[in-house]
């Protein structure tokens, strides 16, 4: 809805849809008016609910990292972990049910290949998993901790925020846990309901000392995960679980690194900058195509990739060019990471902005799978 408003408004500038946009602008309730009136919006929603609610846009086949194999996202994770265990004898992987392969199959075969002292189950206790991982890293080994679902990371909140994030700082750089990476399946999956769908990245974005990363597909996932593991700071790597099987790409089999804290411009454009991470990148690409087709708008789509510390420069450069910014995430809007981006862009690019920055996200307090959200964006755009 918000996307539609912004898009329609920018479209108005191009005089392509002046009647509708005039109506929107003259009414503060224009948004809900738009949503309620056309019956096709409802129809679209019910149809979409039973289909995949977005289209996955695969990355081009990478050419600079050696031979590639077809992998889905969970296989690209396994491949990254495999490379790590092979090259770093101190590396250990642990968490709930990881020994037999993990409930999302990300560690399949690794215990048999590398031994049960390197890939092992822990008791069911998230604060223990992260605390244990910090200790492994403090002792100089590489720790890869799995939290079974991002929704269940909160028992470990203290260990992550008060301990991991601050270890290096508080010791004056005498001790650190930079060799720890926490992996967790993240985001909506369409049927995960209240507690298998959350996107808690904003909670961790408030903790300097951490790095928080979300990949959009298999190629990015492997390169970014390997960067997190190699990085000398504690990293949280959120894996969009809806993509585990749905996303398939040609992924290099060797190890390679995609730099952290660098956003990726996945589609260039000149009228509007759209920022997202994870699954939502694909939604925005679809939206960009629709905006091009229906409204004649050229959208620049940026995959932020690293939430903390984020690539302000790339986003701001783009906004200077386009004058408009839309940020979309699955997490609730209040205090979501879009709020931080909005403020930073407003500080840096105030005079370049031609419209208010818009956040498209879950407007409910809770996120119960984002089918609704996406159909809202897409449907209202269509309207």
């Amino acid at each position: 809805m918000a996307a539609a408003r912004l898009l329609l408004r920018s479209a108005a500038l191009k005089a392509s849809l002046s009647d509708v946009s005039a109506g929107v602008q003259s009414s503060t309730a224009g948004g809900s008016l738009l949503r309620l009136s056309p019956s096709c919006s409802l129809r679209l929603k019910t149809q979409k609910r039973h289909a995949t609610h977005f289209t996955f846009y695969p990355d081009p086949v990478p050419t600079n990292y050696g031979p590639t194999t077809k992998m889905n996202l969970f296989q690209s994770i396994t491949s990254a972990l495999d490379n790590t265990l092979a090259s770093d004898p101190t590396a250990v992987i642990f968490g709930e049910d990881v020994a037999f392969g993990g409930v999302f199959r990300c560690t399949v075969g690794l215990r048999d290949k590398y031994g049960k002292d390197r890939v092992f189950n822990t008791p069911l206790c998230e604060q223990g998993i992260v605390g244990f991982g910090i200790g492994v890293a403090v002792a100089g080994a590489t720790a890869i901790a799995e939290i079974q679902f991002a929704d269940y990371i909160f028992p470990a909140f203290d260990q992550i925020v008060n301990e991991a994030a601050k270890y290096r700082y508080r010791s004056g750089n005498h001790f650190d846990c930079g060799k720890m990476t926490i992996r967790a399946p993240w985001g909506c999956v369409g049927h995960g309901s209240l507690y298998h769908s959350q996107s808690p990245e904003a909670f961790f974005a408030h903790s300097a000392g951490l790095k928080v990363v979300v990949p959009r597909g298999p190629v990015q996932a492997k390169g970014l995960l390997l960067s997190c593991i190699a990085d000398e700071n504690p990293c949280i790597f959120f894996e969009p679980k809806i993509l585990y099987r749905a996303a398939v790409e040609q992924v290099p089999t060797d190890a390679y690194h995609i730099p952290l804290s660098q956003a990726d411009i996945v589609q260039e454009g000149s009228d509007l900058t759209m920022v997202a991470w994870g699954t939502q990148v694909h939604v925005l690409r679809e939206v960009a195509n629709m905006a091009q087709d229906k409204l004649g708008l050229s959208c620049e789509v940026i995959d932020l990739q690293t939430i903390l510390p984020w690539d302000k420069e790339t986003v701001c450069k783009s906004v200077v060019k386009t004058g408009r910014l839309l940020i979309s995430h699955e997490a609730p809007v209040t205090g979501g990471f879009a709020a931080e981006i909005t403020t930073a862009v407003q500080e840096e690019c105030f005079l370049n902005l031609e419209a208010p920055i818009t956040r498209v996200s879950n407007d409910q307090l809770l996120e119960s799978g984002n089918d609704e959200l996406i159909t809202d964006v897409v449907a209202t755009l269509v309207d």
């Binding site: 101190t90 250990v92 037999f100 392969g101 993990g102 409930v103 999302f104 199959r105 002292d117 092992f120 822990t122 008791p123 206790c125 604060q127 223990g128 992260v130 605390g131 244990f132 910090i134 200790g135 492994v136 890293a137 403090v138 002792a139 100089g140 080994a141 720790a143 028992p155 203290d158 260990q159 008060n162 301990e163 601050k166 290096r168 700082y169 508080r170 010791s171 004056g172 750089n173 005498h174 001790f175 650190d176 930079g178 999956v189 369409g190 049927h191 995960g192 309901s193 298998h196 300097a208 000392g209 790095k211 000398e232 700071n233 679980k241 585990y244 099987r245 510390p309 302000k312 420069e313």
Partner: protein, 446 residues
């Protein structure tokens, strides 16, 4: 219905293999069981009293009468000691037979710690430092355990274990630097007083949030085990901190993952004002060990030799057998919790006096030394004077030292400097330049 289907879809992602695996296991168990029953049947007719529970979660017997386990099934865990209150060895075979030099070193470290506590406590009262926590009454637990370890064993502490660091050779100047937060503080003035840490001495920097070090210590022990380096991790904590969820995590992880670690609980009777009987209902902390499948012992923490023996044996076995040990050292916090606390609000002077005058770890060791003619009044007087002087001189040096460069506020957040941090630093530097008359910048290093 839809929800159920949805959950199945969610789990379907990985559940195929789980199901296959589980089915395989179940059929194996059933086969085994069938085999056993068949075997029994060959010899005699089926007898239900011969049945054994097959639940995967416990190995036990069936019983046919209703009976709850009493909570005191583990109770009155005895307190191991070597010396009585007058410093006499009770059972000669338990005497660690330490040399005179070693014992004198114990005593000097315990009393030097005591001297440092008195002076730093006073300096807080005078407003020279912001905060302090004394170790009065717990010196035996520190020195006894520290002496039983190798210097490369890794220590995770709580905050009341300064004696361990002192035993390892942390100089008075660095204790003072930390409490003053001056430019020599290894932690760059970022933590409150008593949050020491030293990489060279394998003493992990103290963290304020309680019990977080327990699961971390388990992880470190696991990594150390994989190095095959014959090292052990020791993790100190109070009986109050033992109530935290992280304590449970640390115990359970180190037991199931077979970590060479010593959990050393200082049970000093209080967590700030909360007495032990409001902290737990079972038999202290040691009673929890068996629940985790962990070797446990309770020792008299005011008997430095008992602490030494228990820690030494726990260390030997933890390394040899790769398993955790839990030591509960019974002691008493003679000082206030910290300089922010007045303990007369929740305990009697008589109670404190008893421990201070009748059952103090320092006087117990002194009795032992006096009985052997190793220490007399003259030595005591001279050492008191000397130790006080050492501390006061270090204090004076620390007080004169500048504070750390304010720009250090922004380092070590990450291993590298980020654009945001650079910007924040620039803005602070500009601010200090512009408003320098409002800041005592001459007290800080440039």
């Amino acid at each position: 219905m839809a929800a159920v289907r949805n959950m199945q879809r969610l789990w379907g992602i990985g559940v195929g293999a789980i199901r296959r695996n589980a089915a395989l296991k179940t059929s194996k168990i059933l086969q085994q069981r069938a085999f056993r029953i068949n075997g029994a049947q060959c010899q005699q007719s089926f007898d239900s009293s011969m049945e054994k529970p097959q639940f995967p979660g416990a190995s036990a017997e069936f019983i046919d009468h209703l009976e709850f386990i009493q909570p005191n099934v583990i109770s009155g865990i005895p307190v191991y000691r070597v010396m009585d209150r007058r410093g006499q060895i009770i059972n000669p075979s338990e005497d660690p037979q330490l040399s005179k030099d070693t014992v004198l070193n114990f005593y000097q470290k315990m009393t030097l710690l005591n001297a440092m506590d008195r002076i730093l406590y006073e300096s807080q009262r005078q407003g020279r430092i912001s905060f302090y926590m004394t170790n009065y009454g717990e010196e035996g637990t520190h020195i006894g355990s520290a002496a039983a370890l190798d210097s490369n064993d890794l220590v995770f502490g709580q905050y009341r274990e300064a004696g361990v660091l002192m035993y390892r050779g942390f100089p008075l100047d660095l204790f003072m630097a930390q409490c003053y937060g001056n430019a020599d503080d290894l932690g760059k003035g970022r933590l409150m007083p008593v949050h020491y840490g030293c990489r060279d001495l394998n003493f992990v920097t103290i963290s304020s949030p309680l019990a977080t070090q327990l699961p971390q210590a388990a992880g470190a022990a696991y990594a150390i085990k994989r190095e095959n380096s014959n090292r052990v991790v020791i993790c100190y904590f109070g009986e109050g901190a033992a109530s935290e969820g992280d304590a449970h995590a640390g115990f359970n992880f180190s037991a199931t993952l077979e970590c060479p670690i010593i959990f050393f609980c200082r049970n000093n009777g209080y967590a700030i004002s909360t007495p032990t009987h409001e902290q737990y209902r079972g038999d202290g902390i040691a009673a929890r060990g068996p629940g985790y499948g962990m070797m446990s012992i309770r020792v008299d923490g005011n008997d430095v030799f008992a602490v030494y023996n228990a820690t030494k044996e726990a260390r030997r076995r933890a390394v040899a057998e790769n398993q955790p040990f839990l030591i509960e050292a019974m002691t008493y916090r003679i000082g206030h919790h910290s300089t922010s606390d007045d303990s007369s609000a929740y305990r009697s002077v008589d109670e404190v006096n008893y421990w201070d005058k009748q059952d103090h770890p320092i006087s117990r060791l002194r009795h032992y030394m006096t009985a052997r003619g190793w220490w007399g009044e003259d030595e005591e007087r001279a050492w008191r004077k000397q130790s006080r002087k050492l501390v006061l001189e270090a204090l004076e040096r620390a007080e004169k030292r500048l504070k750390p460069n304010p720009e250090l506020i922004f380092t070590d957040v990450y291993n590298e400097f980020t654009p945001d941090l650079a910007k924040q630093k620039e803005s602070m530097v500009r601010h200090l330049q512009q408003y320098k008359e409002h800041y005592p910048l001459d007290m800080y290093e440039k």
